[in-house]
């Protein structure tokens, strides 16, 4: 349960909001790199943290992210032309470079310097892995670029997709922290999904539906361990890292690739979910890559030409009661991603947390909210840089491991929970 004011504090991310200011201290996924595939590609409209922007890639391959609307009459630059190292408004031909600087106002005399006085808001963009990242805060606070392992391995070892989720970012993130739903909502996928099945860990998952949970602090966020009984007096641990503000990883299964998500606010009622899979030591197989493209594992099957899942609210998520009855899916919705999204969207665009009834197995969510709130307040009131900004906080992994009962996951899994280039992940 949260008080109304805290719920509003954590769910509002637009300009001038406290949590919006927090998000503006981090590099955030902006687009998939495939959305601007070549120089002078068509511009892309982007809304992120409640700001309407336009992204483009100029003739020299430089990425730009600027205010969507022309400074002249407020027309959308999406109709514009990307040409000769800039983006030209289709209305009267005003032209901007990737820094947002107006470089040409055709109606002015040739020797006029008027355009030098016109500049749109612009944010830096970098390409790391399959993602274009942006930093939307004050330039003097700009941190070093992210060092998440999925964006640093070779291209053949990683795959990223994205999907639109019609809910506030926080309830989507909370699903990524909450391990307790997996044995229920996703039980069908553990048995049949090509990116999950066959792992020994699945047996532990399905044989013990009442896991114990342990929450431990990390420098950049939290580790949430879920433990189940294994054989010979041992415990099977699944450890989920959360790096503030919006990065989570799913504990792996067998030699299947590692995966996880970024939950990026579009506005207060929508978010982008960037979903990645990668293997630290080998290329993804053609079969794995195809399965990801088809929406298996934690990816979604999107409406062609869009990033909207086929199982969306307009079609009641393609509810299949027969599959539900047969046990192929627990909820009747196909796919891990949309099983989560369907329930999170059903809560409403911003769930009213004053009315929820948490139980102690929600401790990870309780702690994550508290850490977020404290970080938001510390930044707002004292200017303290929040956890998760420093790239060292990004060098983490999820893990699945069997440990003797007396061992603590957080002490025994130090190496397993650290990104180690070229070293296989720890998984059962």
């Amino acid at each position: 349960m949260l008080k109304t004011e805290v719920n509003e504090l954590l769910t509002q991310t637009g300009p001038g909001t406290a949590t919006g200011d927090l998000f503006r201290r981090y590099w955030l996924p902006l687009l998939l790199a495939e959305e601007l595939p070549e120089n002078d590609a068509p511009p892309v409209r982007v809304k992120i943290l409640g700001e309407r922007l336009i992204a483009f890639r100029d003739s020299e391959g430089r990425y730009g992210l600027i205010d969507e609307f022309c400074a002249h009459r407020g027309a959308s630059l999406w109709f514009g032309r990307v040409e000769e190292s800039g983006l030209r408004c289709a209305y009267h031909g005003w032209k901007y470079d990737v820094s947002g600087q107006c470089v040409e106002v055709p109606s002015e005399p040739e020797n006029s310097n008027f355009c030098s006085k016109v500049k749109l808001t612009a944010y830096p963009v970098v390409k790391l892995g399959d993602i274009l990242w942006t930093y939307m805060g004050e330039p003097e606070n700009q941190p070093d670029v992210p060092e998440f392992e999925f964006a640093q391995v070779a291209p053949e070892q990683t795959y990223t997709s994205k999907r639109w989720q019609e809910s506030n970012w926080l309830q989507a993130l909370e699903g990524g922290i909450d391990s307790s739903h997996v044995s229920w909502l996703h039980s069908g996928g553990l048995k049949s999904d090509p990116l999950f099945k066959g792992a020994k860990g699945n047996e532990y998952n399905l044989n013990d539906l009442r896991p114990f949970f342990e929450v431990a602090e990390a420098d950049g966020g939290l580790f949430v361990g879920a433990r189940r009984n294994a054989e010979d007096g041992k415990y099977y641990w699944r450890i989920t890292p959360w790096v503030m503000p919006a990065f989570t990883m799913v504990p792996p299964r067998g030699d299947h690739p590692l995966h996880g998500h970024f939950w990026v606010p579009i506005d207060d009622e929508n978010c982008w979910v960037y979903t990645f899979d990668y293997h630290p030591t080998r290329p993804l197989t053609p079969e794995e890559r195809q399965a990801m493209q088809e929406g298996h594992g934690v990816h979604s099957r999107n409406v062609p030409g869009t990033y909207r899942p086929e199982e969306n609210k307009d079609v009641d998520y393609l509810m299949d009661r027969e599959a539900q009855k047969r046990g192929e899916t627990f909820s009747g919705v196909r796919g891990i991603a949309q099983q989560d999204a369907s329930l999170q969207e059903s809560m409403g665009p911003i769930v009213d947390r004053t009315k929820e009834r948490l139980v102690s197995s929600d401790t990870g969510i309780i702690k994550a909210r508290q850490k977020l709130r404290k970080a938001v307040e510390a930044l707002r009131d004292e200017g303290i840089t929040p956890p998760g900004v420093h790239p060292a906080h990004h060098r983490i992994r999820s893990a699945a491991i069997v440990l003797p009962q007396e061992e603590s996951f957080i002490e025994s899994c130090g190496e397993a929970l650290a990104a180690r280039p070229g070293v296989a992940h720890v998984s059962v």
Binding site: D316, S360, S408, E411
Partner: protein
């Protein structure tokens, strides 16, 4: 059967439709908070001074009548520091298990300093949090409507 009203399909998940959700008072839960050592008791005393829905706070020792204390509880939360008494935790956990009472543990301190306490509580606390932030005690109790 295809839905014919907007409120009979998934599109009803709008802020406007949320106005029609049934608004019924939510009761608290009978939480029992055990301090397992003196340092934890000092924290619990400070937390207990705040208004709660019905949570009770107890300093648990080997002499405490645990079975009587937990009789009316539906949640037992053990608060400990590095000096926690594992035997008392075990007694609490057994009493709770017999009555189907959920157990949770909050261990206050750096994880290296409280390793022994974590090991002592792990078998008994279904949900365990290791934290250096004393505020987490009140935060968890508030979130659980204790």
């Amino acid at each position: 059967m295809r839905p014919i009203l907007s409120n009979s399909c998934a599109q009803a998940a709008t802020a406007e439709e949320a106005r029609f959700r049934i608004d019924r008072p939510i009761g608290g839960r009978a939480a029992l908070v055990f301090a397992l050592d003196d340092a934890a008791a000092a924290v619990v005393d400070r937390v207990a001074a705040r208004p709660w829905s019905g949570a009770r706070f107890v300093r648990a020792t080997a002499d405490t009548a645990i079975a009587e204390e937990v009789a009316d509880a539906d949640l037992a939360i053990m608060i400990a520091t590095g000096d926690a008494d594992g035997d008392v935790a075990s007694t609490i956990a057994r009493a709770c298990m017999e009555r189907g009472i959920m157990t949770a543990g909050l261990i206050l301190g750096s994880r290296f300093e409280v390793a022994a306490a974590v090991s002592a509580l792990r078998p008994y606390a279904r949900n365990l949090m290791v934290t250096e932030d004393e505020d987490d005690v009140a935060e968890v109790l508030t979130a659980l409507r204790a």
